[in-house]
């Protein structure tokens, strides 16, 4: 079911082309284009308000784009091409597309009235029509994978922030998505809990699932990314390998941002 380790990933190509998005009079995405290869790990960094999270949310159609388009494995997100027209997909079809894209939120957004296992096993049953028994078994497997098998019966409020976020990752994985989106997954965590979550994501980076991660953890970005994307004011300013972006940024805006967020001792 899951993408096997080491085999070259064949699914999860994300192509973002000229995406624009405004909230009221403010244009938060000003024509963003980005390609993430199947199995690739793209880390988006940049100052707050630069449009990173909005870009992430357009990929699974939580935000409708005002211009441009996004496709996954060549299929448009939120629209269907018929003749020369783009037909908006109905809710049902959008939901089906979303099952291929897992998302992990900054505030976890676990369902507080459901146990960890119920949180993980809910969507496979109602969105993919799997049997309850199968979803349960797979849910326990996934909780085991994030190191929380023994907390399967706990309610989110009985878990620490780091544990909650790991349950949220297991929940996103339960649908066997091609792509996983992480929206600042460690920003709401106490410093000592950050690593337990990053370790889980590091593992996922090797699994062949495409990952797109918005984060402020620069050390983690350097370790895990194939591509680092620097965004500012609704545009992609620069992108490249971690080596290029962190040690030899070409754009003055990139340089000034990293000079503020990287410690002086930060070297590769």
């Amino acid at each position: 079911m899951t993408a096997t380790l080491s085999a070259p990933a064949t699914r999860g190509l994300v192509e973002i082309t000229g995406v624009r998005k405004s909230f009221g009079a403010t244009e938060v995405l000003k024509g963003v284009s980005l390609t993430v290869e199947p199995g690739g790990v793209a880390v988006i960094v940049g100052p707050s308000g630069s449009g990173k999270s909005t870009l992430l949310r357009t990929i699974n159609h939580l935000e409708k784009v005002d211009g441009g388009h996004i496709s996954i494995d060549g299929k448009l997100v939120g629209y269907e091409v018929r003749g020369q027209k783009l037909h908006e997909l109905r809710e049902k079809d959008i939901l089906k597309q979303r099952t291929e894209i897992g998302m992990v939120f900054q505030n976890f957004n676990l369902f507080p009235h459901l146990t960890a296992l119920e949180n993980v096993a809910e969507a496979p049953v109602v969105a993919q029509g799997r049997s309850k028994e199968e979803a349960r078994r797979r849910g326990l497997e996934l909780l085991d994978r994030v190191g929380l098998k023994d907390r399967a019966g706990a309610y989110p409020r009985q878990l620490s922030g780091g544990q909650q976020q790991r349950v949220a990752i297991a929940r996103a994985l339960a649908l066997d998505p091609k792509i996983l989106l992480f929206d600042e997954p460690t920003s709401a965590l106490d410093p000592e809990l950050v690593n337990e979550v990053l370790d889980v994501i590091r593992e996922l980076a090797k699994s062949g699932t495409t990952l797109i991660i918005v984060t402020h953890e620069m050390g983690f970005a350097r370790d895990v990314a194939d591509t680092v994307v620097f965004m500012d004011q609704g545009q992609i300013v620069e992108q490249g390998t971690p080596q290029q972006i962190f040690t030899n940024p070409q754009e003055p805006r990139t340089r000034s941002f990293f000079s503020k967020v990287l410690e002086p001792a930060f070297n590769i």
Partner: protein
């Protein structure tokens, strides 16, 4: 100075295990102020180098109060207040029991009389039917109000507006006299002569139907707002997470949003239901023989007005009490996950009270 004291205190070996004699403890208790000045002056900037111990000085034992007896704080005014209130309660109870004009004998005689019980059943029936229908309709109205369609929103708003701004009494009389406004009610295709069936309004709208219709529609208008409030109280992130997981819309409402909204809905909803139990008494204007109308009929015959009103009142108290117990357990059910640990039920609390009480009695402190 105070920081120096605390550091020194921490650096000392813990006195556990070695039972300090009272004399030692007393000396140590007298020491703190003195020790603070000593260490502060002696240590100076030297504290970090030797882990906080004063140079050359032997570690001093911290004041040990473990053998002291704890004397509870006294609350004399609490006792005075308790006595005054207890006296008041006693006086009320005494007058209720001894004043012959309450006519408890008459109350007892009618409390379980067949006609009263029949009236009670009618009251329960009205409450249950209009309560359930009212909340179902209210749920639909709340969803309409929250929908993206401007028409649905305004229809829902208008419904609540009309039914909340007219007196229930007027609504009931209007429904009961619908036959005056519309002689016949028919189902057909609008603007054509096609009729599937047609009935006399007066045969369709009985007293019972008018009562249920009036109470239901009125209840729906209020419960719509309660349910809408509950739904709005659920964090937007919950909907987003559910949408991102591809959970279908209806399932999102029933499985994710509603159970969380219930926590906000339940207290007010039970308020409404309890209000409805007593509110049903208003249908006496339709001469519908529910509990209140029944006792009125009886006391008009027997002239025992107050005792019979007491009969009705006591039954309302019984219903409300039973509902309150339901409320407690339903609210507890929906607080799963919202609190770290569920609060104890009264039964569990009582058990715990007796258990700990037995323990403290056994302990000779």
């Amino acid at each position: 100075m105070s920081s120096a004291t605390s550091r020194v205190a921490q650096a000392r070996p813990a006195p556990t295990g070695e039972p300090a004699t009272t004399a030692e403890a007393g000396a140590a208790a007298a020491a703190p102020g003195q020790a603070a000045t000593e260490t502060a002056s002696a240590a100076g900037g030297n504290l970090t180098s030797d882990g906080g111990l004063p140079p050359g000085g032997a570690p001093r034992l911290a004041a040990d109060y473990s053998s002291y007896r704890v004397v509870a704080a006294k609350h004399p005014w609490r006792w005075v207040g308790t006595a005054v209130v207890a006296l008041g309660v006693l006086a009320v109870a005494w007058s209720l029991a001894t004043n012959p004009r309450w006519e408890w004998g008459v109350v007892a005689q009618w409390f379980t009389a067949q006609s009263v019980v029949n009236g009670l059943v009618e009251t329960l029936k009205l409450t249950a039917i209009s309560g359930i229908l009212g909340f179902v309709l209210g749920f639909i109205l709340a969803l309409m109000r929250l929908s993206a369609s401007p028409l649905l929103v305004s229809v829902s708003w208008t419904f609540s507006w009309i039914f909340r701004s007219t007196p229930l009494l007027v609504q009931l009389l209007l429904w009961y006299n619908l036959g005056y406004l519309y002689e016949k009610i028919s189902l057909g295709i609008p603007f054509t002569d096609v009729r599937f069936f047609e009935v006399q309004t007066t045969t369709l709208i009985s007293q019972f139907a008018a009562a249920v219709l009036g109470l239901t529609l009125n209840q729906a208008a209020y419960s719509a707002e309660i349910i809408r409030g509950g739904i709005l109280s659920v964090d937007q992130g919950q909907l987003e997470a559910a949408a991102a997981l591809g959970i279908p819309t209806w399932r999102r409402s029933t499985r994710i949003v509603l159970p969380q909204a219930m926590r906000a809905i339940l207290p007010t909803a039970f308020n409404e239901i309890i209000g409805l139990v007593k509110g049903t008494s208003i249908v006496y204007v339709l001469a519908y023989s529910e509990l209140f109308y029944t006792v009125q009929v009886i006391y008009n015959r027997t002239q025992q007005v107050l005792p019979l009103l007491l009969v009705a009142t006591l039954w309302y108290v019984v219903i409300t009490s039973v509902l309150s117990v339901f409320q407690y357990y339903i609210e507890r059910h929906y607080s799963k996950g919202a609190v770290r640990n569920l609060p104890l039920t009264p039964l569990q609390k009582a058990r715990k009270f007796f258990a700990t009480h037995a323990v403290t009695n056994r302990k000779s402190l």
